[in-house]
């Protein structure tokens, strides 16, 4: 009996770990989805924007002892501005161009940012030793860093959702995402909306980076792993679907955790790719996407 209980407990623990992490994935994937929706640009550099957020939090913590959550107050607006700057100077040039052009641009940007990070900060693996340890609730050990990351990620995601749902500007973003031309005709300043969308997407990636810095290790090439996860989540949840990306992210978090527990961590790393390919075959529109 004790064995069965222990087994169930361990399983519950694994599922919770996955859910906690999934919320951070959601933050990343929703930002990517938003940028694609408004501009039809697949941002390969999204993972590197996450990496920049991680380093910002790492340095703020290491140099001045800034609490990683407090650092978000700086990271969010700074990343928003960086995103707006990138959009104004680079990305705007490729909007409406053949898709290969935008892929090449953002891919170049991604490699550039990795190179800069390698040169400025070396390839060393860094970590932010804040919030270590756990809270034990009814036999379940909840990692403090993950609980905090979960709560913050959820709060930011909800705030963005509320913004898109209810505000005038948010509605303009959604309108642009649905049909740029009609939005233009309706008098929406599409250029400004793009600026906003890229800034917002970048800020969300940066925030995800800040939160992941507390859980994982920070290094220049960390972004690529997470970019693949974000792709898988969007494909799973359905393109353009806010709720789909959210559910998809939680599902991926749990699926990875379960796969690692049931088999091993090597298989867990392949879960994102398996989902990616599987969904393409079975239901290309994703769980919540609309079939065209």
């Amino acid at each position: 009996m004790v064995g069965a209980d222990a087994g169930a407990l361990a399983l519950a623990q694994v599922v919770i770990s996955g859910l906690l992490l999934g919320a951070v994935y959601a933050l990343l994937a929703i930002g990517l989805n938003l940028i694609f929706g408004v501009m039809r640009v697949i941002n390969i550099a999204h993972g590197e924007l996450l990496m920049l957020g991680s380093y910002a939090t790492f340095w703020l913590f290491t140099l001045w002892g800034v609490n990683p959550i407090v650092s978000l107050v700086l990271v969010l607006p700074a990343m928003f501005l960086l995103g707006a700057l990138l959009q104004r100077t680079l990305v705007d040039r490729v909007v409406g161009q053949p898709l290969l052009i935008s892929l090449l641009l953002t891919f170049g940007l991604s490699s550039f940012l990795i190179g800069v990070a390698l040169n400025l900060w070396t390839a060393n693996y860094r970590s932010v030793p804040a919030f270590s340890g756990s809270i034990v609730v009814g036999g379940l050990a909840l990692s403090i860093s993950r609980v905090i990351a979960f709560v913050v990620a959820l709060a930011i995601t909800l705030a963005v959702w509320y913004f898109l749902r209810t505000t005038r500007l948010g509605k303009a973003v959604r309108a642009t995402s649905q049909n740029t031309e009609v939005a233009l005709v309706c008098g929406i300043d599409v250029a400004r909306i793009r600026l906003l969308a890229f800034g917002l997407g970048t800020a969300m990636a940066g925030a995800a980076g800040s939160l992941l810095a507390v859980i994982y290790t920070v290094y220049p090439e960390m972004g690529r792993t997470f970019l693949m996860k974000a792709f898988a989540i969007i494909v799973l949840g359905g393109l353009g679907s806010f709720g789909g990306a959210f559910v998809g992210a939680l599902a991926l978090g749990v699926a990875e955790a379960l796969a690692a527990f049931a088999w091993n961590t090597q298989i867990a790393e392949a879960v994102a790719y398996a989902i990616f390919i599987g969904v393409l075959f079975v239901r290309p529109s994703g769980l919540f996407g609309v079939r065209e």
Binding site: E256, A260, Q266
Partner: protein, 428 residues
Amino acid sequence: MGGRDGLSRRDFLRLAAGAGGVVAIAGCGQSAAQTGRGSQPAAGQPAPAAGQSGGAASSAPIKVGASISTTGSNARTGLYQQEAYLLWEKQINARGGLLGRPVQMIIRDDQSDPSTGQKLYEQLITDDKVDLILGPYSSGVTQAVATVAEKYRYPMLAAGASASDLWSRGDRKYLFGVYSIAESYFTGVVEIAQKEGYRTIAVVSEDTLFPKSTANGTVKLAQDKGLQVVVQEQYPQKVADVSSLIQKVKAANAEVLVGGSYLPDALLLTRQAKDLDYNPKLLAFSVGAAMPDFGESLGKDADYVFGPSMWEPELNTPGNQEFVRAYMEMFNREPDYHSAAGYSACQVLEAAVNAVGALDNQRIRDWLSSAEMETVLPGKYKVDANGMMIGHDAITVQWQGPNKVIVWPAKYAQGTYKLPTPAWSQRT
């Protein structure tokens, strides 16, 4: 305008798949593009014939080539080895060079990638026409590079490799070990665990050559000593999350956790063990735990952790104190055992060239396979018929407060170990 709406979800999927491919391809492509601090031969300077210049009359520098992982997942460890090479280069040139000629190190960055390392050594030997080579960092890269060394008959001291696989096939004639084989790393830890009466052990490792070798060796050692191996599992290189693995080890009630790891995963395993409130009585990691960086990164959480070490700065081996002093002067940080192993390889190579008196790779090889000498490492340089190191003494250290203390074997011990490891919640 126009032409923008035609994009469907299907396009996105196709593009996203393409994008994934681009990223994967780029990952491979980058390797060739980057070179480390390789120095170009000056124009007009006659290049000495590869390996056979004989050392007479010529005053052109002797070129010594190597690749090191200075970026990628093994960068932090690789740098220690590279620094040792650079220190030796500086010192030998200050001493008047090798065979009366200056020494020029040519070091390239293999980005922790075996196939890149292989390409770089091929390049070093055929394009740069280096006279001598030194080993790269990590068993995986060494495994790939060894075939190049065999092909061109360049003897190579494996300054950063210890998986016994490298020598066990017995068909390598040009590869020589510098420190103990990976399989024996945890001899001290397993012995201590047995002495303390611990019965269950979990062995986890990265799925690359060296970590797997330490793990397999440890499993065998543990079984021989009557410990029960409750979990044995591997995880991929660059793993981001090991929480499910820790969960499994915790559920299996392992009293001892041994990680066949490099530094990043050693840090990750320790942090997540704490996060998930897993409290083993003994925690040990292969590479990582013995590095100063481990204590720096983890602070108090490093306390009580064991690690095998191939060398420590306090040892009384010949020339050790001078080595540590010169290293700290040049690089402003304490060397770790990877530095010492790199330095030891340089010492042996220097002795070999001096003994032979010429840059004759064949005779250098013969000398390396039969010689015995003392270096900064404990024990001595002495290899078996396959080139595998048998003269070196591995040691075991434990973090006690801010210091690493040598706790095994008795011959080198500075203090006694502290066990059992207290639960995370009971530490202050």
